[in-house]
C-alpha cells in the first residue's frame, strides 16, 4: 500500500493531468455504455413505426457516441502518458540526486547491477502502472456502475438477475491474483537460476572441459532447465484454465439471459429491443472483470518495484556537511588518526584503535591481507566513511561500542554505562572516547566535504574512467584546466606519447564505443587526472596489477612523479616502494600491528621482517644477482 500511495503522491503533483485523464476516462466510458440504448430505440420505437429517416438519425447518433468515446479515450490516454512521463522524469532526477549524495558504504552494500535495475527496470514498471493502473480501475468501476444503471432503466427485473455477475467478477479477480501470479513469479525466479548456471558454465567452459566435467555440468543444466520448464508450464496451464473462463462465465450469463428473457417476454414485460440491449450490456461487463484483474496485477508489480526504488530515496545519507563548514584552503598535508574506530553502520569493528600521525610530505606504505582494514583506513580521510562516533570499552581483548543510549551489548547481555564506566561482573571498564581523523589538525568532519575531497587525490590500480575524451578525463577534477596543463600532466604520467599516437589525440573518446585502453594505460591516465587536480594528500591503491613489466616500470615512474611533495598513503606490493616509505604500517584484523621505517621494522624482527625475508629468500634463489646500474626504462607506449 505504502509504496503505491507514495507513487500517487508524485502523480498528484501533476494534478491537472491526473484529474484530466480520469475525467476523460469516465466521460468516455459513459458514451460507450450509452450505445446499446440506440439499439433498443431503433428496435422498439423506430421499426414498429416504420420511420425510415429516424434510422439514419439513430445511426448517426450511434456514430456520434462512438466518435465521442474515441476522442475522450484518446485524450485520456494522452494525458495519462504525459502524467506518467512527468512522474518518471521527476522520479529519475530525484533518484539520481539521491545516488550522488550517498556515502560509499551504500555502494559497497548494493551491487551496481542491482542499483541500476532499481533505477531503470523498476521505474519502467512503475510507469506502466502510472499509465494504466489508475485508468483501468476507474474505467472498470465506471463501466460497471454505468452499465448497471442503464440496465436498471431498461428492466429492473433482468438487472436484478444480472447482479450475480458482480460477485463472480470479484471472485475471478481474486482467483486470478492468487492462483496465477505466484506461479509466474516462481517461474521467473527459476529462470534467473537457470540463467546464472548457464552463464557460469559458458564463462568457465575451459575449466569444465579441462576437468572433463562436461557430463556433470550437462546434468546440472538439465536439472535447472527442467525445473524451469515445469514451473513455466504450470503457470501457463493455470493461465489457459482461467483466461477462457471469464468469457465462458459471461457466456453462461447470456444463456441465462435467453431463458429469463424469453420467460419475461412471454409475460409481456420485455421488448425485443430491451432484450438485444441487454445482450450488448452484459457483453460490456466483461471489460471491468478483465481490467480489474489486470489492474490488481499491475498494482502488485508496481508495489514491489516501488519498494525497491524508494529504498534508494529512503536510505539515509550518513555523511553530510557540518552546519558551519570550514573551507579548507592551503592544505599542508598533515594527517592524524587518533584512536579511530570504524564499523559499517554500527556493526562489528573493522578498524580498532588506529593511532597514526603523518607529517606533511611523508609517504606511508600500508601492508596487510584482504580484510585487514587498510582500505577502510584510507577511506576515512576523504570521508567516504566516518569514524565510529560511539565510545568503546575493551573487554576480554575485544572492543565493544557503547550505544548513544549508554548500553553495551556483549554476547546476549546488555550492560549499562554510567559516569564513563561500564561495570561487568563487578569489574569497571572505562569508556574510551570516540576517536577522530584530522587533516592539518582539524577534524575532517568539520570541513566542507567538497573542499576536503578536492584536496585529496586518489588513484586506483583499476581506475574508473568515463566515456568521454581523454582530455575531459584528465581534467575531470578541474574542468577549467588548460590543454597545456593537461598535456603537462600527461607527460609526467608518461602517457602523453600514447595519447598523441591516437588518431584524435586528446580528443579521442575512451570507453566501450571509443578507444579501448589497457590496464596500465588507464592507470596512467588516472595518475594524470590526479596531477591536474593537484591535491596535497594522495591515496594510492596499487595493490594488484596485471600489466607487463615494461608498463609496470612506467607506472612506477609516473607514480614517483605524482608522489613528489605530497603526503601519500600507498597500498602496494612493490617491496622497493615499501622500503622507501617513511612509515610502514602493517595491519591485521583492523588493527595496526607494526609501524615504523623499514630499518626499524627489520630490527624489531616482527611479522614484517618475517615476510620480507621469505620473499627475499625466494628471489635470492636466483644466483648472484648483483646490483646493476640504473634500470633501463623509457616512455614507449
Amino acid at each position: 500500500m505504502g509504496y503505491v500511495s507514495r507513487l500517487t503522491a508524485y502523480a498528484l503533483k501533476h494534478r491537472g493531468h491526473f484529474i484530466g485523464f480520469l475525467a476523460a476516462a469516465v466521460v468516455g466510458t459513459l458514451f460507450n455504455v450509452l450505445t446499446p440504448l440506440v439499439l433498443v430505440e431503433i428496435i422498439d420505437s423506430v421499426i414498429p413505426t416504420a420511420q425510415y429517416d429516424l434510422i439514419i438519425t439513430y445511426s448517426l447518433l450511434y456514430l456520434a457516441l462512438i466518435t465521442l468515446y474515441m476522442i475522450f479515450d484518446m485524450a485520456g490516454r494522452y494525458l495519462a502518458a504525459l502524467m506518467a512521463q512527468h512522474v518518471i522524469f521527476d522520479l529519475r532526477n530525484d533518484l539520481y540526486d539521491s545516488l550522488m549524495e550517498k556515502d560509499l558504504a551504500f555502494y559497497d552494500e548494493n551491487e551496481t547491477g542491482q542499483l541500476l535495475a532499481r533505477v531503470t527496470t523498476d521505474v519502467t514498471t512503475m510507469r506502466e502502472f502510472l499509465f494504466w493502473g489508475y485508468r483501468v480501475i476507474f474505467i472498470g468501476v465506471a463501466t460497471m456502475v454505468g452499465t448497471y444503471v442503464i440496465m436498471w432503466t431498461l428492466s429492473p427485473v433482468l438487472t436484478t438477475y444480472m447482479l450475480i455477475l458482480i460477485p463472480l467478477t470479484a471472485g475471478f479477480v481474486y482467483v486470478f491474483a492468487t492462483r496465477i501470479r505466484p506461479v509466474f513469479y516462481e517461474a521467473r525466479s527459476q529462470y534467473g537460476v537457470l540463467s546464472s548456471v548457464l552463464a557460469e558454465n559458458i564463462v568457465g567452459m575451459k575449466v569444465v572441459q579441462s576437468f572433463a566435467a562436461a557430463d556433470r555440468e550437462y546434468d546440472r543444466v538439465e536439472r535447472e532447465n527442467r525445473g524451469f520448464y515445469e514451473l513455466r508450464l504450470e503457470a501457463l496451464r493455470r493461465l489457459s484454465f482461467y483466461r477462457p473462463l471469464l468469457p465462458a462465465v459471461f457466456g453462461i450469463a447470456t444463456g441465462a439471459l435467453i431463458y429469463i428473457g424469453g420467460f419475461t417476454y412471454f409475460l409481456g414485460d420485455l421488448s425485443f429491443g430491451v432484450f438485444v440491449g441487454f445482450l450488448a450490456l452484459v457483453g460490456m461487463l466483461i471489460l471491468p472483470a478483465r481490467f480489474l484483474s489486470w489492474g490488481v496485477g499491475m498494482y502488485q508489480r508496481a508495489s514491489a518495484a516501488g519498494e525497491r526504488t524508494f529504498y534508494i530515496l529512503d536510505h539515509r545519507d550518513e555523511i553530510m556537511n557540518p552546519e558551519d563548514p570550514i573551507d579548507l584552503a592551503d592544505v599542508k598535508g598533515q594527517v592524524d588518526f587518533t584512536d579511530a574506530y570504524f564499523s559499517y553502520r554500527g556493526g562489528d569493528f573493522i578498524l580498532r584503535d588506529v593511532d597514526l600521525h603523518v607529517k606533511p610530505g611523508q609517504v606511508v606504505a600500508l601492508l596487510g591481507g584482504t580484510g585487514s582494514g587498510k582500505t577502510s583506513l584510507i577511506n576515512l580521510i576523504p570521508r567516504f566513511y566516518d569514524v565510529d562516533d560511539r565510545g568503546t570499552i575493551t573487554y576480554e581483548g575485544r572492543s565493544y561500542g557503547v550505544s548513544k543510549s549508554g548500553t553495551v551489548k556483549i554476547g546476549d547481555t546488555l550492560h549499562r554505562a554510567s559516569d564513563g564506566v561500564v561495570e561487568i561482573d563487578g569489574v569497571k571498564y572505562e569508556i574510551q572516547k570516540p576517536g577522530s581523523v584530522s587533516v592539518d589538525g582539524i577534524d575532517v568532519r568539520q570541513y566542507r566535504i567538497e573542499r576536503l575531497r578536492r584536496s585529496i587525490g586518489m588513484v586506483h590500480q583499476d581506475p574508473f574512467l568515463f566515456s568521454a575524451s581523454v582530455r575531459e578525463n584528465i581534467a575531470f577534477g578541474r574542468p577549467q584546466a588548460s590543454i597545456e596543463e593537461v598535456e603537462e600532466a600527461a607527460k609526467a604520467a608518461l602517457i602523453h606519447d600514447f595519447i598523441v599516437s591516437l588518431e584524435e589525440g586528446y580528443d579521442s573518446v575512451i570507453g566501450e564505443r571509443g578507444v579501448k585502453l589497457s590496464g596500465g594505460q588507464k592507470q596512467r591516465i588516472a595518475i594524470a587526472r590526479a596531477l591536474v587536480a593537484n591535491p596535497r594528500i594522495l591515496i594510492l591503491d596499487d595493490s594488484t596489477s596485471s600489466v607487463d613489466a615494461k608498463t609496470e616500470m612506467m607506472i612506477q615512474r609516473a607514480l614517483e612523479n605524482l608522489m613528489r611533495n605530497r603526503t601519500t598513503f600507498i597500498i602496494t606490493h612493490r617491496l622497493s616502494t615499501i622500503r622507501n616509505a617513511d612509515l610502514i604500517v602493517m595491519m591485521e584484523r583492523g588493527q595496526i600491528v607494526e609501524k615504523g621505517s623499514h630499518e626499524q621494522l627489520l630490527e624489531s624482527g616482527g611479522l614484517y621482517s618475517e615476510i620480507h625475508s621469505t620473499l627475499t629468500e625466494m628471489e635470492l634463489a636466483a644466483p648472484s644477482v648483483e646490483a646493476h646500474s640504473e634500470s633501463p626504462g623509457g616512455s614507449r607506449g
Partner: protein, 602 residues
Amino acid sequence: MSGQMVADEEERTYAYSDSTLMKRMVAYLLAYRILFLAVSLLVVVGIVVSIWMPFVLQHAIDVDFPSGSLEAVLFTASFYVFLQVVAWLSAYGNEYLMALMGQKAIYRIRQELYQHLQTMDQAFYDKSSSGRIISRLINDVDRMSELLSGGLISTFAQIFIVFGIGAVIFTVDVQLAFVTLGVVPILLVSTIYFRKELREAYRRTRKTISSVTSNLAESISGARVTKSFARERRSIAVFTELNRADYQSNVDAGKAMAAFFPVIRFISGLGVVLILLFGGSRLIDGTVTLGTVVLFIQFSDRFFRPILMIANFYTSVQGAFAGGERVFTVLDSRPTIIDRPSAADMPTLQGHIQFKDVTFGYLEETPVLEKFNLEIQPGETIALVGDTGAGKTTVVSILNRFYEIWDGAIKIDGIDIRDVTQESLRSRIGLVLQDPFLFMGTVADNIRYGRPDATDDEIVQATETIGARRLIENLEDDFETEVGERGSRLSEGERQLVSFARALLANPKVLVLDEATSSIDVYTEYAIQRGMKRLLEGRTSIVIAHRLSTIVNADRIVVIENGKIVETGTHTELMAKKGKYFSLYELQLRPRAMQPSIETEM
C-alpha cells in the same frame, strides 16, 4: 545495457530466410505429432463453436421468442450454455497443449544448444564474447518461447476465424455480409499504418532510454571517482538533460500510442453503424429478421480482435526470428575438433611430452608456431619465457587440444593426442589458469571440482599441502564459505589458492600453469609462491612464468620468440650465454630496485 547492445538485439543478419526459420521452428513443434493433432482438432472445435454461438442467439430471437414455447427457449438457452462450456474447455485444452508443446520445444532447444556449446572448441569461444553466447542461451531461446507456445498456432486460428466468419455470413445475407466486411480492409490498412508509426516512435524512445541507462550505469560505477573529485553537481546536470530528452521522445511516442487503439476500435464500430443503417431499413421492409441483424452485429465485433492479433503477430514473429536466427547459427556451426571414431581413452600418464615439428596458427596463413620441437621428461618443470605474443600460451593450449594443430604431432607418453578422446586427454592434464575461475558453491565444492568423490579429509590435506589452510580458516565459514558468482566473494589471491588446491586434488601427472601476472598483497603473494612450489612437485609441469623465482627454480627455461624456441637451459647457463634470455632478464626480469636483488615482480 549500452545502446549498442540494444541495437544488437534488434538486428537480423538474414543468414537464414524467413521461411527456413519458420520451417525449423515448426519442425520442433512437429516432433510432438499427436499433441499437434490434438491441438488442431481443438482449434477447429473452438472455431466452430465461436461461429455457432451468434446463430443460437438468432434462433432465440427469430424462432423461440415468437413461438411462445418456454421449453424451446429453455432448450436454446441450455444449448448456448453448453456451447460456452465447450468453448471454455476447448480453449483450455488447446492453450495448455500448445504451451506444453512449445515449452517442450524450448526446453529441447536450450538443452541442444548447451550440449552443442560444450563440444565447441576454443577457437569458437575466442571469436565470440561469452556475453553474446550467454545471450543466445538465455534471451534468444526465450524469444522463441511465445511464438512456439501459442502465438504461432493461435494466429493461424485467428486467420481461419476471419475467413470462416467471412464465408458463413454470406450464406445468411449477401448485402449485410458485404456491409460487414466493408470495414475489414480499412481496419487492416490502418492497423498496419499505426504499427509502422509506433515502431518508429518506439525506436526513438529506445535510443533516448539507452543513453539514460548507460549514463546511469557509468555514474553508479564511477560514483567513487565523482565523489573524490567532488563533481556531483555537474553529473546531475548532464543526467537531467538526458532524462529530459527521454521524456520528450516518450511524450511524442505517447501521441501515436494514445490514438492507436481508440481509432481501431472506432473503425470496428463503424461496421455496426453500417449494419444499423442498412439492416434497419430492411427490418422495416421485413426483408430481414431482427435475429439476423443481431447476428451481424455480433459478428462485426469478432473481426476486431483477430485483426489486432494478426497485426501483433508480425512484431512477435520478428523477435522470434531474430532470436531463432542467432540460435540456429550457433547450432549449425561445427566444432573443428572432433574425436576420431577410433579414439580411445588416454591411459594413466607417465608424463613424457613431445612436440614434434608442430605448426599452428589462429588465422589461416599466419602460423604462430612453426616446426616447433620440444621434449619434456617425466617430472620435469619447464618455465616458458618470452614476450607477450611470443606463443607461450599457444604451446599449452594445443597441448590441451583446445585448438587443432596444422602439422606435426604432439605426443604424450608416445601417444598422439589426436588418437585419444578430448575428454580423457584433458582430464589427465591439470590446468591452472591465470585468472582462476570458480563455480558458485562453497570453497569445498570448488576444491572437489576435479574429483567429486574426494573426502573432506582429502580436501583439508590438499589445502594444507598448498599452504592455504590458514587463509581458508580466516574465511567466514571455513570450507563451507560460499564463493559467490565466479568466486567474486573471494579475493584474487584466495581464488588462486583455491584453484591450486583444486588442481592438486585432481592429482594430474601433467600440469600446465599460467602464472598470474598480478601480484596481490605481500601476504598472499608469499602463500602463493609456496603453494605453487608444492603443486609442481613430482609432476611434469609447464609454467608460463612471470616471476623470477619461478623461472629460476625451473629445471629448464625455454625462451620463445616469434613462435620458435631460441634458447633453453637453466638460469645460470642462459645468463652466461648473453643471448635473448639475458636481454629479457635485463629488460624485464631483473629486480629493478634501488637496492640489489629483491623484487616480487618480475
